[in-house]
Amino acid sequence: MKIFHLPDLGEGLAEAEIREWYVKEGDVVKVDQPLVSMETAKAVVDVPSPYAGKIVQLHGKANEIIKTGAPLISYESDEVVADKGSVVGKLETSEKKWNDGDVIVGGAKKTSTTIKAMPAARVLAQQLNVNLSDVKPTGRDGLITADDVKQHMNQAATSTTALTGATEGLRGVRRVMAQTMAQSHREVVPVTIIEDADLTDLPPKTDITARLLQAIVIAAKEEPALNAWFDGKSLERKVFNEVHIGLAVDSAEGLFVPVIKNAETLADAELRKKVDEYKKSVMDRSVAAKDLQGATITLSNFGMITGKYATPIIVPPAVAILGCGRSRDTVIARNGQMVIGRVMPLSLTFDHRAVTGGEATRFLGAVIRELQK
């Protein structure tokens, strides 16, 4: 079936009213044969047929209003492609109503005072990783000058020297990392507990990552204090029922942490699928911004490359991160004997402002218990 859509009959007309049909359903028409008389805001015009063929359907009755671009007539046809009335360009018509909302005559109110700084000062501050709000302004009207930034650097406790020679300004993910880590360092009170999980008795080809994720889900149910968000300024915390696990994934451009939402509802196979999808979408940079937000707890599998234990860093507002090092064969003690077993090192960092030692150790214990089941 071929559909003829109502074209723009004038200069930017949004709609037209059917005055009178010259044809009816079942009629066979020729090219250019007048089909219908349409009344627009500007004129009454006859619309000729763009095709020869049999009319199958008229999309409106006399006095009905048809929007430009909407179907007008259907013709019998072997083709499946619908004709869009081939209007040049896009039509500026809309069903929307103008919603001015809160139009303010003049300017909107300021909600916070902003920092005034010489452009050169801003650039310098960025290069030196100085927070402008920490710098004391000495210029006119509270203006921060480049000198003020330099002074601030000189007064800094550590003798950081400015970089000389050819330097590279951090951009993108690296830049965010530098800023985020510094912020975490300033705010979080981290404690890391380390322990090994004994994976010797697990069947070969077990999907360790999926097991680990499931273990986190169960541990989070037992010790929800670690599956929470904390606001250091207001001293409020929010404990979650859902478990959204952030999965740290490394890539050429840096670290990304896509979030497996509602991990508590997913089976092993689904978890594995999600993990693989994310690995791929991080590699080809197609991961969506919304998938990088909302983690309630994070897993960092840094052991893929090397390393046993670590002190992984918590990014507020989260309060916990589990780091998983490289599994290895090693000598373990069993029933008083030395045997070769497979051991996976785990490091759990928790924010001691919001989580107690007891909660943390019980959490880690639950993770290991589930892993070893």
């Binding site: 930017g12 103008w98 003049g106 909107a108």
Partner: protein, 326 residues
């Protein structure tokens, strides 16, 4: 209260003011019997008669000059130029007389005319019908230049323009003429001239625009909000004299500024705005200002027209570039 399109709001305002003030005369080509080629003057002939709605002979310079003569004698001519591309024969009258009458006669004679014209691209019309050259008028001392961007503002600003004792060039964005409807109260209330309208409050970026580009700008702001960027959208409305203070206060708040206009880049009104922002708010800037505008070319014919008009995508890209500066 009734729902109407922008061009209907223009019609409503004209009808209201003609009813309220017997000195208002509407004139132009095809405005009386035909009601105007966009129907902006529809029904006025029936309401007010052929001595107040004049179908002029085909001559733009004459239309402007007649208006000058009438205005100096106390009438209030509201003249229509069929498209901005055809206002150019009237430039001599506008620049040499309309803009100067009060000054040259030290206030003895004044020229309170309103020159209305549809402007801007995007209606797939033949060449010369897509001009966006508000800069020519903004550069002329003695004129006001007013550009509405919604039916309600068209109504309120046109009333204000007609009542203003100084000449106003009132540019109506043809692309928005019939785009969607809005509730407009036909209460004769004018909106203030010489002041910007803040259409959307925001914290991260100040987006300054006018006319038809308000549509793309608001759409871009909505899209950007979804990715966490909050854009303050300011409709300049009165291009000249420019309410720079509203723009400066906003830039001081957000630290980032982008100007969006359809007119070509070089020497567009955006250049004036950015110059003033640099002069008066430089130290509040976190990022260099940007302009998203039409290219420095003749507006292409209908087949390439939509690639000339700044798109929502180009606006979003500009804002994202600004956001790279913390």
């Amino acid at each position: 209260m009734a729902e109407m399109t922008l061009v209907e709001a223009v019609n409503q305002a004209l009808a209201y003011e003609m009813g309220a003030n017997a000195d208002v005369i509407v004139m132009g080509e095809d405005v009386a019997r035909n009601g105007g080629v966009f129907r902006a003057t529809l029904g006025l002939l029936d309401k007010f008669g052929p001595e107040r709605i004049l179908d002029t002979p085909l001559a733009e310079s004459m239309i402007a000059g007649l208006a000058v003569g009438m205005a100096t004698q106390g009438l209030k001519p509201v003249a229509e130029f069929q498209f901005m591309g055809f206002i150019y024969p009237a430039m001599d009258e506008i620049i040499n007389h309309v803009a100067r009458m009060r000054n040259r006669t030290r206030g003895r004679l004044t020229c309170p005319v309103v020159f209305r014209t549809p402007f801007g691209a995007g209606i797939h019309a033949p060449e010369h019908h897509s001009e966006s050259t508000e800069a020519y008028f903004a550069h002329t001392p003695g004129l006001r230049v007013v550009i509405p961007s919604s039916p309600a503002r068209a109504y309120g600003l046109l009333l204000a323009s007609i009542r203003d004792p100084d000449p106003v060039v009132f540019l109506e964005p043809s692309r928005l003429y019939r785009y969607a409807k809005q509730e407009v109260n036909n209460d004769g209330k004018a909106l203030p001239l010489d002041v910007c309208f803040t259409l959307r409050s925001g914290e991260d970026v100040t987006l300054v625009t006018w006319g038809a580009m308000v549509k793309e700008s608001l759409a871009a702001a909505e899209t950007l909000l979804a990715s966490g960027v909050s854009v303050e959208v300011i409709d300049v409305a009165t291009i000249k004299p420019l309410d720079i203070n509203t723009i400066l206060a906003s830039v001081e708040k957000t630290g980032r500024c982008v100007v969006v206009h359809e007119a070509p880049l070089t020497c567009g009104v955006g250049a004036e705005i950015i110059a003033q922002v640099a002069e008066k708010a430089l130290f509040s800037l976190k990022a260099p200002p940007e302009r998203v505008t039409g290219f420095d070319t003749i507006v292409p014919y209908a087949k390439m027209e939509k690639y000339y008009i700044p798109s929502e995508k180009r606006i979003i890209e500009a804002v994202n570039r600004l956001m790279e500066y913390a």
